[in-house]
Symmetry: C2
């Protein structure tokens, strides 16, 4: 996948609020099943599975089948295209770099 295609896929995948909410729940959970994701999502199980498929194709989540359940987890490399894009247009970060500094301290104290 080329660079432009990657950022395209990630942006497009995260643009939908429902799908982004699914991703956020996957991030916050270490591992989470489809039924758990469906609960309180406001959409049907089929919709959740479709969103998970999109997220998987974009490289944002990965799956681990176990018996009847399929556990989903976030894929660390998935957001890299977005980070790269923001690095490239990072002139905008200047006014926010205090936040980044704080974040870096949390990451690598």
């Amino acid at each position: 996948m080329t660079e432009a295609a990657a950022i395209n896929a990630v942006m497009r995948t995260l643009a939908d609020p429902t799908r982004r909410a699914v991703f956020e729940r996957v991030v916050k959970s270490n591992e989470i099943t489809v039924v758990e994701l469906t609960r309180g999502s406001g959409v049907t199980q089929g919709a959740i599975s479709q969103h998970l498929k999109s997220l998987k194709l974009a490289g944002l989540v990965a799956e681990r089948p176990e018996g009847r359940n399929v556990y989903y987890r976030a894929e660390p490399e998935g957001l890299a295209p977005l980070v790269d894009w923001m690095s490239h247009y990072g002139v905008f970060w200047r006014e926010r770099f205090a936040n980044l500094r704080t974040l870096l301290k949390e990451i690598d104290p």
Copy 2:
């Protein structure tokens, strides 16, 4: 505009490749007019104006009318919701923080 609405607007606005390309050209130019943006964009002038309207509503660009021309420039605060969102789900940045460190050095040497 609430936090969720802001990230929603930015993500949604940048999801379209054509519109994102317009934004990138605005970023790279200090100021740029609509005709210049239209040239080589592959779409009509009307489409460019529509994309600029979306970008403006999302807070990503600002305009400066001057005579017949309207000069567009990037709005620094516009990407803040995206930065905040990535900070919040920044667990993924760990594998990339070397890049961020380099970027920070460029910003604040």
